[in-house]
Amino acid sequence: MTATGTKSAAAKAGTKVMTLLEAITDAMRTEMRNDDRVVVFGEDVGKKGGVFGATMGLFDEFGEKRCFDTPLSECGIVGTAVGMAVYGLRPIAEIQFLDFIYPAFDQIVSEAAKMRYRSGGEYTCPLVIRSPYGGGIRGGHYHSQSSEAYFCHTPGLKVVIPSTPADAKGLLVASIRDEDPVMFLEPKALYRHAKGEVPTGEHVVPIGKARIAREGTDVTVLCYGAMVPVCEQAAQAAAEQGRSVEVIDLRTLVPLDEAAVIASVKKTGRCVVVYEAPKTCGYGAELSAIVAEKCIEYLEGPIVRVAGFDTPFPYTLEHLYMPDQKRVLAGIDKTFAW
């Protein structure tokens, strides 16, 4: 196969209302049309179109050579993706649930993440690992985890988590075009719940740029993925109590848009960090440390983390485990009660 690379921007196109899931499919379809190095594979992604439907239609349009089912082995999926990327393809490997990624951990952490560095830049590993993460679907331990922190802790990997359909498309396109391995984690709770306008043609959202989801002046709430709408609702409720909350959707955990975080905290003087992963050593711990290091003198109250509890993800009590609007509001209260 010869590499044609990425064609230049398509003609201005309109937009269409899509779910976050449809936007992800659209991103892959767009890039597969643009660049014949892009291949998509994983468990059930072919004829079935993925267990959530993210690859729906790709098998029909691009055939089995570019969209195929694999044997049931995450190690196999990621290991072969590494080989393909090293050789010159742009593989998109789907891991059916982030909870099932661990057999591939070695290939991700020891191989994909270090290929560029250990070869002195001779070999690179431009691949995307897409995987649904997070709770909210009554999936119990093994269909709900939010284990982004493991990957953020691995130099060499980029970690991207969209929260809106337009970002899902634009960030996925950027991830596919990126020269480094990207963990593209999809908030499955929003797959069908998040709906919005998405450009139908060329649409790229750069990796490493946060988004102000809601402007405010009294307190900054840092969040990503499925926690973004929860925080937006909390911000709305807080507004009704006379508090102006700024919600920052990080969009990219690695590399982090530190400037956006610091600018917002300097402006508001208060900071709440929200994530659904277990609290201890979660990504919010890193955010808290950065805020403390870089702008503690601006803070008018403690940095507060609102997170999942330090337990495995439960089934029946899931609704209490997941941070919700009330818990975010309680966190906001704490930053004022000082």
């Binding site: 267990v51 044997p71 190690c75 909870d99 999936g139 929860v230 495995p312 029946t316 899931e318």
Partner: protein, 370 residues
């Protein structure tokens, strides 16, 4: 080299001469009763899911002979490291149906305290080790448990299950290798039901069978008709006996079919050929065994009624009792992470308690789509 597909019963339930394990009539009837009850349990589980009363269900329909025939070869003191498609073993091991159903509801009567999705059982009383979702992990664990029994000098045998998809997992290869190297008393049962969700077994491997993979690990591999309960029983009994004698592990491939969709969230009609499905439906393991019992004059209409209606009544009573039980209390979420909760867990439990006192916490959660 090619492995023969072992069978005893033909499609009309006639046993081949010299192969019938000649189980006593009472045992044959017990096996039949268990198969019928397992199907009734699965039917009820799916119905409850469809009615929105439980969140998820996964049936073993069509695989009753495969898992019950296998586990029937064990002693009660032997251990199981199951996958998620062997519910009949719980009935075989006399787990009260109400406890099974409590697991579906994830309520306070559930042995795993509502922590896992439906059908991920744990029953220590039945030597039935906690099921997890990640495919294949139990295979290596069974090898390790077998190694432990050898170290201790126990004569316990371990049976572990996986699907055709499971043979592609890292643990399948490692588990078989370790078990063989250490001559662990393990029977690996691969229920080849043709499908791993939407992926046909022909895409898992180009080996001519799953059983033949045993050769590479230096253990016997046997292929058996998984819809023939007597054949599965016989093959597994030989494997269990070998294991108990210290002769090491065996891989048994039961060739069967997943009659239902993968789970309550899947629709197999989207990717599966109706002809294939219809052909397998005709090979129903319960119907075939019923024919056999008829030839032996061990089956009557009255017996059938008693098996089916008895099972349905027991299940109905269990559902009624289970559904009335409350969910585990919020504080239980913090138990069993460790033997003793850490200071952080205690603090978080207190934090949740205080929030709940103020009222209103608890996010809306959706439905399981897979």
């Amino acid at each position: 080299m090619s492995l023969e597909l072992l069978s005893i019963l033909d499609q009309d339930g006639k046993a081949q001469k010299g192969k019938d394990p000649n189980l006593p009539p009472k045992e044959l009837q017990k096996l039949y009763r268990l198969m019928v009850a397992t199907r009734a349990l699965d039917d009820r589980g799916l119905a409850l899911q469809r009615q929105g009363r439980i969140g998820f269900y996964l049936q073993s329909t069509g695989q009753e002979a495969s898992h019950l025939g296998a586990a029937y070869a064990l002693k009660d003191s032997d251990w199981l490291f199951p996958a998620y498609r062997q519910p009949g073993i719980l009935l075989l091991r006399s787990v009260p149906i109400e406890q099974i159903v409590c697991e579906w509801f994830g309520n306070e009567g559930d042995t795993s305290k509502g922590r896992q999705m439906p059908v991920h059982y744990s029953f220590r009383q039945a030597n039935f080790v906690s099921i997890s979702s990640p495919i294949g992990t139990q295979l290596t664990q069974a090898a390790g448990a077998g190694m432990a029994a050898r170290i201790r000098g126990d004569d316990t045998v371990f049976m572990t299950f996986c699907g055709d998809g499971g043979t592609s997992s890292n643990d399948f290869h490692t588990g078989l290798n370790f078990a063989a190297v250490y001559k662990a008393p393990v029977v690996f049962v691969c229920e080849n039901n043709g499908w791993a969700i939407s992926v046909p077994s022909s895409k898992q491997t180009v080996s001519e069978s799953m059983a033949i993979k045993a050769e590479a690990y230096g253990m016997p591999g046997v292929r058996v008709d998984g819809n023939d309960v007597l054949a599965v029983y016989r093959v597994c009994k030989e494997a269990v006996d070998r294991a108990r004698k210290g002769e090491g592990p065996t891989l048994v491939e039961t060739v069967t079919y997943r009659i239902a969709s993968h789970s309550s969230s899947d629709d197999a009609a989207r990717y599966r050929d109706a002809k294939e499905f219809e052909a397998w439906k005709k090979k129903d393991p319960i119907a075939r065994f019923q024919q056999y019992l008829k030839h032996k004059k061990l089956w009557t209409e009255a017996f059938e009624q008693e098996c089916l209606e008895g099972a349905k009544a027991d299940i109905a009573a269990a559902v009624k009792a289970a559904e009335a039980r409350p969910n585990p209390g919020p504080e239980t979420m913090f138990d069993d992470v460790y033997m003793n909760p850490t200071p952080q867990l205690k603090e978080q439990r207190q934090e949740l308690h205080e929030l709940m006192q103020k009222g209103g916490v608890g996010a809306d959660v959706g439905h399981f789509p897979l």
